[in-house]
Symmetry: C3
């Protein structure tokens, strides 16, 4: 099996419970990955994902080999039948098959390039690797999804939730640069699969792709969305709509998360995937408050990666 997106999870609640068990005893399954090799390929920079996925592999007893594909390797070609006489030195057909021979599991991070919306939303890089690789693929954030982050967030909400059906809000916030929709997409997808009263709030023009919005309530009124919320999950993303795809169209400071806005919630918890720009996305007073879960989220990255790797390793064993 791959861990590409939510469709690779047979039972989300069970994965969450198992991850919480791993957190209590991270080394319990150290024999499972013995003499197995995890290769992590980074096409983009990383801090949390890099270290937590390595750590998860080590906790499972795996060997881990890390490669920065762009800096230490070269550009890959993804097109069919291309005459490769320009800047790209190797086709993914070979690269994926080759890496598979040195790896028992391949982790890949490859962000949206914002050059071609269709290519991004077809998940060009991950799709090609899954097509040609003979080893299972672990998605470490792709063009349009970040399933390890979303799984982390569900684990974290599960740890802090006290209600049968908490109100969970995904709120856009401003950022000076154009960021991918990946984190927001996956969070929405996993929230929709959970027993949440789930609301998405963002300015006009910032609608997420319909397949991720699903049945969530959507409002442009951030204050209305925050009322009575138990969890506020904040993230910037750039527009999905064709005419403004991947551009910065709005930096309205009124969307920044302040103590006043948090006061509208039901003593709501503040969540963000990090890295976060302080006093742009969120005020110091909020992220430094007792209700901020951002560090525990980062901690749970290890166990999200570990449960995904454990499931993959178990699927190989069979």
């Amino acid at each position: 099996m791959n861990y590409f997106d939510i469709n690779d999870i047979d039972n989300l609640q069970q994965w969450i419970e198992e991850a919480k068990e791993l957190k209590k005893n991270p080394l319990k399954h150290k024999a499972l990955g013995e003499d197995k090799t995890l290769v992590l390929l980074f096409f983009n920079n990383s801090l949390r994902t890099r270290l937590s996925t390595q750590k998860a592999g080590l906790n499972l007893g795996m060997n881990v080999m890390v490669m920065n594909f762009g800096q230490e390797g070269w550009q890959l070609e993804y097109g069919d039948g291309e005459v490769m006489d320009q800047g790209k030195s190797e086709h993914v057909i070979e690269a994926a098959q080759v890496v598979s021979q040195y790896a028992d599991v391949i982790g890949i991070r490859a962000f949206a390039k914002f050059e071609n919306k269709e290519e991004d939303y077809q998940e060009q890089v991950l799709t090609a690797f899954m097509k040609y690789a003979s080893a299972p693929i672990l998605n470490m954030e792709s063009a349009i999804g970040h399933p390890l982050q979303a799984l982390t967030d569900m684990i974290t909400i599960s740890e802090f939730n006290t209600k049968p059906k908490p109100k969970v809000v995904l709120s856009w916030a401003p950022h000076p640069r154009a960021l991918p929709q990946a984190v927001a997409n996956s969070f929405a997808q996993y929230a929709n699969a959970s027993d949440f009263d789930f609301v998405i709030t963002h300015p006009e023009g910032y609608e997420l792709a319909p397949q991720f919005v699903g049945g969530a309530k959507v409002t442009h009124n951030q204050d209305e969305a925050f009322k009575g919320a138990d969890f506020i999950y904040v993230k910037n993303w750039s527009p999905y709509v064709d005419e403004n795809y991947g551009q910065v169209m709005n930096t309205d400071e009124n969307w920044r998360i302040s103590a006043e806005k948090m006061a509208l919630t039901n003593d709501g918890k503040f969540m963000h995937c990090l890295p976060v720009r302080r006093n742009v996305i969120v005020d110091d007073a909020v992220i430094d408050s007792e209700n901020s879960l951002v560090i525990e989220q980062a901690n749970n990255r290890t166990y999200a990666a570990q449960i995904a790797l454990k499931k993959i390793l178990e699927s190989i064993e069979k």
Copy 2:
């Protein structure tokens, strides 16, 4: 012992057979490298060599430390008596001795720079490391040789060969950039040391250095060379001849490997060290055919590295 080139192999056929044994049971000698450290120094980018050599070390139970010398370190001086008041921060005299103290084996990749043919053909970097290092050196592709690749290729031919004396052809093919002669040099050297009917074919002006051509037949007629061949090994290289050293003098598409050309062979196998530019070096129809061995070659990189490391480790033990 070092593994610098073919002269470090006491018995090529025996190494090939041992590598094939390692492939059946890669972890059999995991105790041999226990508590031993393999340091891999990359002066140039790498995919296969980086991952397969790490993997080979792990299979032997070694710790592996990888360093990108240029990006993570600084430029080295190689000259004797130089006043180092320019851009080079450390002399190889110190660097080689220092790294030796943290390593039981040092792998080095350092390509031809094409600035000075004499320096390239004297193997400035590897020679200096072998001179000053107290730890054994593993050549992960030097200015003029790629002995791990050539060993890999001999293993692969051995696996697929069905004849007492197969016809093996090394063919030049076009490429938009100037590439080193290293892979072609080593392939020719190892092929000459094997029981092959060995032919080299390339355009005029692309003669390899005489010490590597050895007793091989050389022809400028690619079609003639391909007739009845059992293995077609394809590689671009730039001219060795003084006046055009390291320049692109020919990009003639007629040299690209097509299905028509392969039809001249005796159901010949297609080989390439990768990365390969599709539809420039070779047509999709050839590399995607059943006769293409390129992925199995990449797989054998692990066992070529592993037999070389095993021999080095055994030489330390004595």
Copy 3:
């Protein structure tokens, strides 16, 4: 405990003796670090520190994860209350807490930036990490100190010293680029804490900060300083004085270490932390002489890191 500077050492002589014991049997404490993770964060390039600290961790049985923060991550913000709408993507408040969750020990290298003397001398980066991290911090060279190098140097002097109170000289030497004071600062600090006749010699304008000079004798007469010396420790540094802070004010070749100067000593040993520019800092004849300890210094880097890591691990165990 952290190993930030000399104040973290309870008994310097005992640390030196323990390091010498580790050197005899580096793997004796391999169980101590089992299932513990050492994360090494490099904000600057490194050869010796990178490999020797990794090696020290491996000798103690630790897992080691290495990250080049700038190249593989992004720029950090250190200021309080900053509106992070410029080039910095993450605040050290989050980064330090996050990395702590994947690490049992965090090694950090972050040089002086020479942009702001006050920031450098307040150790902005290391101080912030020590403030916010929940894991112990290992200083792998900070803005104004290099305590692993100084510990190495004390171990090396201890190995070669034959006197109750050797004469030890720290001498400035010329260099084409502006270098930090870190190595000189720490060497002076550790030498002052040892039973040495300790002399510092440098041109006018190159005075080190008073807190590092301590009670050492200081002279601008290099020849006078060298007379009868047992150990000559050479290093370039740029001026500490406000008006010329971090600038190259002097490249006087007369300060280069020659055989003639060494002849003034009591058959003195030559020491340098490396990398060294030959024939700029020191003549070939000196560094290549039998009295040169530079390679043994580099070797001792492993055991300095190992004793520091061992002390940190033992402090965690308690």
